[in-house]
Protein backbone atom coordinates (compact mmCIF):
# COMPACT_ATOMS: atom_id res chain seq x y z
CA UNK A 1 0.00 0.00 0.00
CA UNK A 2 1.30 3.38 -0.98
CA UNK A 3 1.63 5.67 1.99
CA UNK A 4 1.72 9.36 1.08
CA UNK A 5 1.76 12.77 2.74
CA UNK A 6 -2.01 12.82 3.17
CA UNK A 7 -1.88 9.70 5.35
CA UNK A 8 0.50 11.13 7.91
CA UNK A 9 0.05 14.90 7.73
CA UNK A 10 -1.53 17.00 10.46
CA UNK A 11 -4.63 18.70 9.17
CA UNK A 12 -4.86 21.09 12.08
CA UNK A 13 -2.07 23.62 12.19
CA UNK A 14 -1.38 27.17 13.29
CA UNK A 15 0.08 29.83 11.05
CA UNK A 16 1.69 33.26 11.31
CA UNK A 17 1.74 36.26 8.98
CA UNK A 18 4.84 38.13 7.74
CA UNK A 19 3.64 41.15 9.76
CA UNK A 20 3.58 39.28 13.11
CA UNK A 21 6.22 40.81 15.44
CA UNK A 22 8.77 38.28 16.71
CA UNK A 23 7.84 38.67 20.36
CA UNK A 24 4.20 37.98 19.44
CA UNK A 25 5.32 34.94 17.40
CA UNK A 26 7.00 33.48 20.47
CA UNK A 27 3.70 33.76 22.36
CA UNK A 28 1.86 32.12 19.44
CA UNK A 29 4.37 29.24 19.40
CA UNK A 30 3.45 28.50 23.01
CA UNK A 31 -0.26 28.83 22.31
CA UNK A 32 -0.04 26.52 19.27
CA UNK A 33 1.85 23.93 21.32
CA UNK A 34 -0.88 24.00 23.96
CA UNK A 35 -3.74 23.72 21.48
CA UNK A 36 -2.18 21.00 19.34
CA UNK A 37 -0.88 19.02 22.32
CA UNK A 38 2.63 18.78 20.86
CA UNK A 39 5.73 20.95 20.98
CA UNK A 40 5.59 23.26 17.97
CA UNK A 41 9.07 24.33 16.86
CA UNK A 42 8.18 25.77 13.48
CA UNK A 43 5.19 27.30 11.75
CA UNK A 44 4.05 28.19 8.27
CA UNK A 45 3.80 31.87 7.35
CA UNK A 46 0.89 32.85 5.09
CA UNK A 47 0.45 36.03 3.06
CA UNK A 48 -2.81 37.97 2.91
CA UNK A 49 -4.11 35.66 0.15
CA UNK A 50 -3.65 32.66 2.41
CA UNK A 51 -0.73 31.38 0.33
CA UNK A 52 2.51 30.06 1.78
CA UNK A 53 5.03 32.92 2.08
CA UNK A 54 7.66 31.11 4.15
CA UNK A 55 8.44 29.07 7.24
CA UNK A 56 9.82 30.21 10.56
CA UNK A 57 11.32 27.97 13.22
CA UNK A 58 12.51 28.63 16.75
CA UNK A 59 15.97 28.08 15.30
CA UNK A 60 15.52 31.11 13.02
CA UNK A 61 14.56 33.22 16.03
CA UNK A 62 17.48 31.95 18.11
CA UNK A 63 19.85 32.56 15.21
CA UNK A 64 18.70 36.16 15.18
CA UNK A 65 19.11 36.48 18.96
CA UNK A 66 22.63 35.08 18.96
CA UNK A 67 25.30 37.78 19.30
CA UNK A 68 27.54 37.79 16.27
CA UNK A 69 30.90 37.43 17.94
CA UNK A 70 30.23 34.38 20.07
CA UNK A 71 33.46 32.76 18.89
CA UNK A 72 35.32 35.10 21.22
CA UNK A 73 33.31 34.02 24.23
CA UNK A 74 34.94 30.65 24.49
CA UNK A 75 38.02 32.36 25.88
CA UNK A 76 36.14 34.59 28.27
CA UNK A 77 36.08 33.73 31.94
CA UNK A 78 33.23 36.09 32.62
CA UNK A 79 30.77 37.79 30.37
CA UNK A 80 29.84 40.65 32.62
CA UNK A 81 28.50 43.32 30.29
CA UNK A 82 25.47 44.75 32.05
CA UNK A 83 22.15 44.19 30.32
CA UNK A 84 23.53 42.03 27.53
CA UNK A 85 20.55 39.67 27.40
CA UNK A 86 18.10 42.57 27.63
CA UNK A 87 19.84 44.26 24.68
CA UNK A 88 19.50 41.09 22.61
CA UNK A 89 15.79 40.86 23.49
CA UNK A 90 15.14 44.54 22.82
CA UNK A 91 16.32 44.04 19.27
CA UNK A 92 13.48 41.65 18.57
CA UNK A 93 10.85 44.36 19.06
CA UNK A 94 11.40 45.99 15.67
CA UNK A 95 11.71 42.74 13.74
CA UNK A 96 8.81 40.90 12.12
CA UNK A 97 8.30 37.26 11.19
CA UNK A 98 8.64 38.23 7.50
CA UNK A 99 12.14 39.62 8.15
CA UNK A 100 13.75 36.43 9.39
CA UNK A 101 11.56 33.62 8.03
CA UNK A 102 12.94 31.33 5.35
CA UNK A 103 11.19 32.67 2.26
CA UNK A 104 11.98 29.90 -0.21
CA UNK A 105 10.23 26.85 1.15
CA UNK A 106 10.17 23.30 -0.13
CA UNK A 107 6.72 21.76 -0.05
CA UNK A 108 5.14 18.43 -0.97
CA UNK A 109 1.73 17.45 -2.34
CA UNK A 110 -0.78 15.16 -0.62
CA UNK A 111 0.36 12.37 -2.96
CA UNK A 112 4.09 12.60 -2.25
CA UNK A 113 5.38 9.20 -1.06
CA UNK A 114 6.65 9.13 2.52
CA UNK A 115 10.07 7.84 1.46
CA UNK A 116 10.38 10.86 -0.81
CA UNK A 117 9.45 13.05 2.16
CA UNK A 118 12.07 11.27 4.25
CA UNK A 119 14.66 11.94 1.56
CA UNK A 120 13.80 15.66 1.38
CA UNK A 121 13.89 16.03 5.16
CA UNK A 122 17.32 14.43 5.40
CA UNK A 123 18.87 16.21 2.44
CA UNK A 124 17.48 19.63 3.25
CA UNK A 125 17.78 19.37 7.04
CA UNK A 126 14.13 20.21 7.62
CA UNK A 127 11.82 18.72 10.20
CA UNK A 128 8.48 19.80 8.81
CA UNK A 129 7.11 20.17 5.30
CA UNK A 130 3.97 21.99 4.17
CA UNK A 131 1.55 19.90 2.09
CA UNK A 132 0.15 21.98 -0.76
CA UNK A 133 -2.29 21.28 -3.58
CA UNK A 134 -3.30 24.00 -6.07
CA UNK A 135 -1.74 26.71 -3.88
CA UNK A 136 -3.97 25.61 -1.01
CA UNK A 137 -2.41 24.39 2.21
CA UNK A 138 -3.74 20.96 3.12
CA UNK A 139 -1.57 20.18 6.11
CA UNK A 140 1.93 19.80 7.46
CA UNK A 141 4.10 16.70 7.83
CA UNK A 142 6.27 16.52 10.95
CA UNK A 143 9.38 14.38 11.08
CA UNK A 144 8.07 12.73 14.25
CA UNK A 145 4.92 11.50 12.49
CA UNK A 146 7.03 10.17 9.66
CA UNK A 147 9.30 8.45 12.15
CA UNK A 148 6.48 6.78 14.08
CA UNK A 149 4.69 5.74 10.90
CA UNK A 150 7.79 3.93 9.69
CA UNK A 151 8.74 2.62 13.12
CA UNK A 152 5.30 1.14 13.77
CA UNK A 153 5.90 -1.29 10.92
CA UNK A 154 8.68 -2.90 12.93
CA UNK A 155 6.82 -3.12 16.18
CA UNK A 156 3.49 -4.54 15.05
Amino acid sequence: MKITAKDIMSRTFHTLTPQTPINEAVRLFKEASREEGRKIFGMMVLNSNGELAGMISMYDILLFMRPKHTHIWGNMDDIDVAGIVETACLRTTSVLVGDIMTPEVISVTPDTHILMILDIMIKKHVRRLPVIEDKEIKGIVYISDLFYNILDRFTT
Binding site: L63, F64, P67, I72, V81, A88, D99
Partner: protein
Protein backbone atom coordinates in the same frame (compact mmCIF):
# COMPACT_ATOMS: atom_id res chain seq x y z
CA UNK B 1 43.95 28.71 17.05
CA UNK B 2 46.46 27.88 19.78
CA UNK B 3 47.95 30.64 21.85
CA UNK B 4 51.43 30.05 20.51
CA UNK B 5 50.14 30.86 17.03
CA UNK B 6 49.54 34.45 17.90
CA UNK B 7 52.59 35.76 19.64
CA UNK B 8 52.42 38.91 17.64
CA UNK B 9 49.57 40.40 15.70
CA UNK B 10 51.82 41.37 12.84
CA UNK B 11 52.51 37.71 12.10
CA UNK B 12 48.84 36.94 11.55
CA UNK B 13 47.45 35.75 8.25
CA UNK B 14 43.97 36.15 6.82
CA UNK B 15 42.83 32.60 7.65
CA UNK B 16 43.23 33.34 11.37
CA UNK B 17 40.88 36.32 11.29
CA UNK B 18 38.36 35.37 8.62
CA UNK B 19 34.84 34.17 9.22
CA UNK B 20 34.25 30.77 7.66
CA UNK B 21 30.48 30.95 7.42
CA UNK B 22 29.78 32.54 4.06
CA UNK B 23 26.26 33.74 3.45
CA UNK B 24 25.54 33.67 -0.27
CA UNK B 25 22.52 33.99 -2.51
CA UNK B 26 21.88 33.50 -6.20
CA UNK B 27 22.11 36.83 -8.05
CA UNK B 28 18.50 36.35 -9.21
CA UNK B 29 17.20 36.28 -5.61
CA UNK B 30 14.97 39.23 -4.72
CA UNK B 31 16.17 42.18 -2.63
CA UNK B 32 13.36 41.28 -0.23
CA UNK B 33 14.74 37.76 0.34
CA UNK B 34 18.30 39.04 0.66
CA UNK B 35 17.19 41.26 3.54
CA UNK B 36 16.04 38.15 5.45
CA UNK B 37 19.53 36.66 5.22
CA UNK B 38 21.22 39.92 6.19
CA UNK B 39 18.99 40.46 9.21
CA UNK B 40 19.02 36.85 10.41
CA UNK B 41 22.78 36.37 10.17
CA UNK B 42 23.59 39.94 11.30
CA UNK B 43 25.84 40.58 8.35
CA UNK B 44 26.54 43.83 6.54
CA UNK B 45 26.87 42.19 3.15
CA UNK B 46 26.37 38.91 1.37
CA UNK B 47 27.98 37.26 -1.62
CA UNK B 48 26.01 36.97 -4.85
CA UNK B 49 26.74 33.89 -6.95
CA UNK B 50 25.69 32.76 -10.43
CA UNK B 51 24.00 29.45 -11.27
CA UNK B 52 27.37 27.65 -11.19
CA UNK B 53 28.12 29.02 -7.71
CA UNK B 54 30.77 31.46 -8.98
CA UNK B 55 30.99 34.70 -7.00
CA UNK B 56 29.74 37.58 -9.14
CA UNK B 57 29.01 40.43 -6.76
CA UNK B 58 28.59 41.74 -3.23
CA UNK B 59 25.34 43.08 -1.86
CA UNK B 60 25.79 45.37 1.15
CA UNK B 61 23.33 47.24 3.35
CA UNK B 62 24.64 50.36 1.62
CA UNK B 63 23.48 48.97 -1.75
CA UNK B 64 20.11 48.11 -0.21
CA UNK B 65 19.80 51.61 1.24
CA UNK B 66 20.57 53.01 -2.22
CA UNK B 67 17.77 50.91 -3.72
CA UNK B 68 15.36 52.11 -1.02
CA UNK B 69 16.37 55.72 -1.68
CA UNK B 70 15.92 55.28 -5.45
CA UNK B 71 12.51 53.68 -5.02
CA UNK B 72 13.51 50.40 -6.69
CA UNK B 73 10.82 47.71 -6.21
CA UNK B 74 11.86 45.35 -3.40
CA UNK B 75 11.08 42.31 -5.55
CA UNK B 76 13.84 43.30 -8.05
CA UNK B 77 16.77 40.91 -8.22
CA UNK B 78 19.93 41.63 -6.26
CA UNK B 79 21.92 41.55 -9.54
CA UNK B 80 20.36 44.95 -10.32
CA UNK B 81 21.86 46.67 -7.30
CA UNK B 82 24.89 44.66 -6.16
CA UNK B 83 28.48 45.94 -6.37
CA UNK B 84 30.73 44.02 -8.69
CA UNK B 85 33.12 42.37 -8.98
CA UNK B 86 33.77 41.04 -5.43
CA UNK B 87 37.26 41.76 -4.10
CA UNK B 88 39.36 38.83 -2.98
CA UNK B 89 42.36 37.89 -0.90
CA UNK B 90 43.98 34.55 -0.04
CA UNK B 91 44.06 32.61 3.26
CA UNK B 92 47.82 32.93 3.60
CA UNK B 93 47.98 36.65 2.87
CA UNK B 94 49.29 38.73 5.75
CA UNK B 95 46.45 40.40 7.62
CA UNK B 96 48.17 43.73 7.16
CA UNK B 97 48.21 43.46 3.37
CA UNK B 98 44.52 42.49 3.32
CA UNK B 99 43.72 45.51 5.49
CA UNK B 100 45.74 47.62 3.11
CA UNK B 101 43.61 46.46 0.15
CA UNK B 102 40.42 47.21 2.12
CA UNK B 103 41.66 50.69 2.90
CA UNK B 104 42.86 51.54 -0.58
CA UNK B 105 39.70 50.22 -2.25
CA UNK B 106 37.45 51.78 0.40
CA UNK B 107 35.63 48.53 1.18
CA UNK B 108 34.73 46.97 4.50
CA UNK B 109 35.23 43.32 3.58
CA UNK B 110 37.12 40.97 1.32
CA UNK B 111 36.19 37.45 0.33
CA UNK B 112 38.85 34.83 0.86
CA UNK B 113 39.47 32.32 -1.92
CA UNK B 114 41.39 29.07 -1.78
CA UNK B 115 44.42 29.49 -4.02
CA UNK B 116 44.15 25.87 -5.25
CA UNK B 117 40.57 25.60 -6.44
CA UNK B 118 39.45 29.26 -6.32
CA UNK B 119 36.52 28.38 -4.05
CA UNK B 120 35.37 31.03 -1.59
CA UNK B 121 36.35 29.79 1.87
CA UNK B 122 35.78 32.82 4.05
CA UNK B 123 35.13 36.51 4.48
CA UNK B 124 37.27 39.10 6.21
CA UNK B 125 35.52 42.12 7.70
CA UNK B 126 36.51 44.86 10.14
CA UNK B 127 34.35 43.69 13.07
CA UNK B 128 35.92 40.22 12.91
CA UNK B 129 39.39 41.75 13.00
CA UNK B 130 38.46 43.77 16.08
CA UNK B 131 37.12 40.58 17.61
CA UNK B 132 40.45 38.89 17.04
CA UNK B 133 42.37 41.83 18.50
CA UNK B 134 40.10 41.83 21.51
CA UNK B 135 40.72 38.13 22.04
CA UNK B 136 44.43 38.78 21.79
CA UNK B 137 44.24 41.54 24.42
CA UNK B 138 42.23 39.35 26.78
CA UNK B 139 44.86 36.66 26.61
CA UNK B 140 47.70 39.12 27.21
CA UNK B 141 48.95 39.13 30.79
CA UNK B 142 49.25 42.93 30.72
CA UNK B 143 45.63 43.49 29.67
CA UNK B 144 43.26 45.35 31.93
CA UNK B 145 41.08 42.27 32.40
CA UNK B 146 44.05 40.07 33.42
CA UNK B 147 45.63 42.73 35.60
CA UNK B 148 42.47 43.43 37.59
CA UNK B 149 42.57 39.81 38.77
CA UNK B 150 45.93 40.42 40.42
CA UNK B 151 46.58 41.71 43.92
CA UNK B 152 49.11 44.29 42.73
CA UNK B 153 48.17 45.26 39.20
CA UNK B 154 50.88 46.86 37.10
CA UNK B 155 50.37 50.49 36.09
CA UNK B 156 50.10 50.43 32.35
CA UNK B 157 48.93 53.35 30.27
CA UNK B 158 45.68 52.26 28.68
CA UNK B 159 44.36 53.60 25.41
CA UNK B 160 41.24 55.63 26.12
CA UNK B 161 38.19 56.12 23.98
CA UNK B 162 38.85 59.86 23.64
CA UNK B 163 42.21 59.20 22.00
CA UNK B 164 40.71 57.51 18.96
CA UNK B 165 37.10 58.66 18.78
CA UNK B 166 35.87 60.93 16.00
CA UNK B 167 35.33 64.32 17.61
CA UNK B 168 32.47 65.39 15.41
CA UNK B 169 28.96 64.04 15.74
CA UNK B 170 26.71 64.54 12.73
CA UNK B 171 23.01 64.38 13.40
CA UNK B 172 19.61 64.72 11.80
CA UNK B 173 16.36 65.93 13.35
CA UNK B 174 13.57 63.59 14.33
CA UNK B 175 11.27 65.34 11.85
CA UNK B 176 13.66 64.98 8.90
CA UNK B 177 12.55 62.49 6.24
CA UNK B 178 14.18 59.08 5.82
CA UNK B 179 15.15 60.19 2.35
CA UNK B 180 17.18 63.05 3.86
CA UNK B 181 18.68 60.70 6.48
CA UNK B 182 19.85 58.40 3.66
CA UNK B 183 21.46 61.33 1.83
CA UNK B 184 23.37 62.28 4.97
CA UNK B 185 24.52 58.69 5.60
CA UNK B 186 25.63 58.43 2.02
CA UNK B 187 27.55 61.75 1.96
CA UNK B 188 29.46 61.05 5.16
CA UNK B 189 29.82 57.29 4.55
CA UNK B 190 28.44 56.52 8.01
CA UNK B 191 26.83 53.27 9.08
CA UNK B 192 24.48 55.18 11.36
CA UNK B 193 23.54 58.71 12.34
CA UNK B 194 22.36 60.34 15.55
CA UNK B 195 18.79 61.69 15.71
CA UNK B 196 18.06 64.83 17.78
CA UNK B 197 14.82 66.61 18.49
CA UNK B 198 14.38 70.32 17.81
CA UNK B 199 15.55 71.09 21.38
CA UNK B 200 18.86 69.49 20.32
CA UNK B 201 18.39 66.56 22.71
CA UNK B 202 19.62 63.23 21.30
CA UNK B 203 16.63 60.88 21.01
CA UNK B 204 17.83 57.92 18.93
CA UNK B 205 19.99 56.49 16.20
CA UNK B 206 19.19 55.40 12.64
CA UNK B 207 21.47 52.73 11.23
CA UNK B 208 21.56 51.13 7.81
CA UNK B 209 19.95 48.11 9.48
CA UNK B 210 16.99 50.26 10.56
CA UNK B 211 16.67 51.56 6.99
CA UNK B 212 16.94 48.06 5.53
CA UNK B 213 14.06 46.97 7.79
CA UNK B 214 12.03 50.07 6.88
CA UNK B 215 12.43 49.17 3.18
CA UNK B 216 11.33 45.60 3.91
CA UNK B 217 8.34 46.81 5.94
CA UNK B 218 7.21 49.10 3.11
CA UNK B 219 7.75 52.34 5.07
CA UNK B 220 7.54 55.40 2.77
CA UNK B 221 10.96 57.01 2.33
CA UNK B 222 9.32 60.34 3.10
CA UNK B 223 8.32 59.10 6.58
CA UNK B 224 9.97 60.92 9.48
CA UNK B 225 13.15 59.81 11.20
CA UNK B 226 11.51 59.11 14.56
CA UNK B 227 9.21 56.46 13.07
CA UNK B 228 12.10 54.02 12.61
CA UNK B 229 14.94 55.20 14.86
CA UNK B 230 16.35 52.92 17.57
CA UNK B 231 16.62 54.04 21.15
CA UNK B 232 18.13 54.15 23.72
CA UNK B 233 21.42 55.41 22.35
CA UNK B 234 24.37 53.12 23.17
CA UNK B 235 27.07 55.28 24.68
CA UNK B 236 30.30 55.35 26.65
CA UNK B 237 32.51 57.94 28.37
CA UNK B 238 35.60 59.65 26.85
CA UNK B 239 37.78 58.30 29.67
CA UNK B 240 36.57 54.72 29.33
CA UNK B 241 39.32 52.25 28.56
CA UNK B 242 39.32 51.21 24.90
CA UNK B 243 39.28 47.56 25.90
CA UNK B 244 35.98 48.03 27.78
CA UNK B 245 34.38 50.01 24.95
CA UNK B 246 35.29 47.35 22.40
CA UNK B 247 33.97 44.68 24.73
CA UNK B 248 30.67 46.51 25.02
CA UNK B 249 30.38 46.75 21.23
CA UNK B 250 31.24 43.18 20.37
CA UNK B 251 29.07 41.67 23.07
CA UNK B 252 26.07 43.88 22.40
CA UNK B 253 26.35 43.62 18.60
CA UNK B 254 26.55 47.35 18.06
CA UNK B 255 28.98 48.83 15.61
CA UNK B 256 29.43 52.19 17.28
CA UNK B 257 29.17 53.93 20.61
CA UNK B 258 28.45 57.61 21.06
CA UNK B 259 30.68 59.33 23.57
CA UNK B 260 29.05 61.36 26.33
CA UNK B 261 30.35 64.76 27.38
CA UNK B 262 29.43 66.35 30.70
CA UNK B 263 25.87 65.06 30.50
CA UNK B 264 24.18 62.15 28.65
CA UNK B 265 22.45 64.77 26.47
CA UNK B 266 25.73 66.14 25.26
CA UNK B 267 27.44 63.76 22.85
CA UNK B 268 30.97 64.81 21.99
CA UNK B 269 32.20 61.99 19.81
CA UNK B 270 31.54 58.68 18.17
CA UNK B 271 33.63 55.58 18.09
CA UNK B 272 33.05 52.67 15.72
CA UNK B 273 34.35 49.13 15.38
CA UNK B 274 35.79 50.11 12.01
CA UNK B 275 37.71 52.96 13.69
CA UNK B 276 39.10 50.44 16.14
CA UNK B 277 40.20 48.13 13.34
CA UNK B 278 41.56 50.85 11.09
CA UNK B 279 43.43 53.01 13.53
CA UNK B 280 44.75 50.82 16.26
CA UNK B 281 45.03 47.26 17.25
CA UNK B 282 46.21 46.84 20.82
CA UNK B 283 44.17 48.40 23.59
CA UNK B 284 47.03 49.50 25.82
CA UNK B 285 50.54 50.86 25.50
CA UNK B 286 52.14 47.62 26.65
CA UNK B 287 52.42 46.07 23.22
CA UNK B 288 53.43 48.81 20.83
CA UNK B 289 55.70 46.38 19.04
CA UNK B 290 52.89 44.03 18.15
CA UNK B 291 50.51 46.71 17.02
CA UNK B 292 49.54 46.74 13.38
CA UNK B 293 50.61 50.07 11.98
CA UNK B 294 48.00 51.31 9.59
CA UNK B 295 48.16 55.07 9.80
CA UNK B 296 48.74 56.40 6.32
Amino acid sequence: MSKSDKNTLSGLVVSQAMRRQIIKLNKDASISNSINAIIKYKINALLAVDDSDNPVGVLSKTDIMGAYYAGIPIESSIADIMSQPPLFCYPNDALESALQIMRSKGVYRLYVVDSNNSKVVGALAYPDIVGLLYQYCCDCEYSHIQQTKRSNPATIKRTLVKEIMTNEVKSVFNDDTLSYVMEELSIYRFGAILVKNRENIPVGVISKTDLTLAYKHGVDSLALADTIMSSPIQSCKPDDILEDAIKKMIFSDVHRLFVEGSSPNELVGVFSLSDAARNRSGSCHACVSSRIKLEA
